[in-house]
Symmetry: C2
């Protein structure tokens, strides 16, 4: 739960803000689980697990709408300024990113379902397990970004921004590898394209984690660091 140093007269307002932050962190935990399950479903050829991911999507969407509604209601009733307003705007952006992470998990689960159908043929040779490694990087960044928010820790947020390059490189390597499989055996093309989409979805989850980390810096420093170089962000955070 984020520490809120600004004093407001209303301790009821504090309670509302921290309840909202807690729900965002819950939503973040759900998104993280959803991604991990979608990738596990693919790697373990588990059709039932892909359905579970699609089910969870409803919960995530519901939270998205509920938290957004609560945000509007709090802004209208409390008329926050300064850091409280920043926190509310930040929560709105976080919820948007978490919802999109859920969408990526659904894309992974759907691709997993299609791939399973074709993996018994030539697709069986594709390097599905390599995607686990990429997904591990992405979910770690997501968890770190959520932790950074929970502790309002800008150094941890900066670490997430810095880690994104590694994920991009991992994606590029996977893409190249999948292309060689396709070239060697054109019967793998359909399944391999689905794996390319999975790899891309995982890379995007890393982008969303990066967005979450930028939001943490915005709450603490009051500066919007999007579209900035990592060097600029680094000098701000230090």
């Amino acid at each position: 739960m984020p520490a809120l140093p600004d004093k407001h007269l209303s301790s009821q307002f504090d309670t509302e803000l921290s309840a909202l932050s807690t729900r965002v962190l819950e939503m973040g935990g759900m998104a993280e689980t959803q991604v991990a399950q979608a990738v596990a479903a693919l790697v373990e050829f588990d059709v039932a697990a892909t359905h579970a991911v699609l089910q969870q999507e409803f919960q995530l969407n519901r939270l998205d709408v509920e938290i957004d509604r609560d945000l509007s209601s709090i802004i209208a009733r409390r008329q926050p300024t300064a850091r409280d307003l920043r926190l509310l705007i930040a929560i709105s952006k976080m919820v948007g990113n978490l919802e999109r992470i859920g969408d990526e998990a659904v894309r992974i689960a759907r691709a997993a379902g299609r791939v399973m159908g074709s993996m018994e043929g030539a697709g069986g040779r594709l390097p599905v397990k390599d995607l686990s490694f990429e997904a591990g990087l992405a979910t770690r960044q997501l968890r770190q970004a959520l932790d950074a928010f929970a502790r309002l820790d800008t150094s941890a947020a900066l670490a997430v921004l810095k880690a994104d390059d590694q994920l991009d490189q991992e994606f590029d390597g996977l893409l190249r590898k999948l292309i060689t499989y396709m070239m060697e055996d054109p019967r793998t093309i359909s399944a391999a394209i689905d794996l390319v989409f999975v790899a891309k979805a995982i890379e995007r989850i890393g982008d969303h984690a990066k967005n979450l980390a930028e939001v943490v810096i915005y709450v603490v420093k009051g500066t919007d660091v999007r579209h900035n170089t990592i060097e600029n962000v680094e000098s701000l955070v230090r």
Copy 2:
């Protein structure tokens, strides 16, 4: 200042709100141009045009940050409620979607740059022009969503939501077509994968147009229609 009901005494506030809406529409026009240019660059093998798209990205990112900052400042100073607050929240969501449309345009331009390098070989046979048709659908939906916002027209917004299926089908057809090219001539695989990414980026632009249309309905009706069936939205709008 005491809380004011729906009508505000301050015509200055009205001026601020409409200035902000105008800037969002400007940003929308820029995003639309950027997408059209990125696709034209690909279809016409125009390297200079891909650079132009990357240049425009800076402007779009700057507008993104500026409008967001103005939004926070207006909320803090004016303490809006009801429809004014909804409009401000809507603008925040629109700006986020328009910025992501710009990101997709950049992805298209980058893929175009890579594809041009390989199109002189076997890639020259790929159906690049088919992507123009898909892009035409997406930019039309984007323009309609922006028009719907300018006129706060929920029927026009609903039409955008309904049109998304056609774009999804177009993407599926393109994907299947590109896979047949890859299977027939594995030397086309690298370039064809880039075209798959372009087709996907265009399809996502349609998704963002859909998000913009949902925002219009939220402003007018006060209902968050995301994650709803088209039938539910239709009965709300009528």
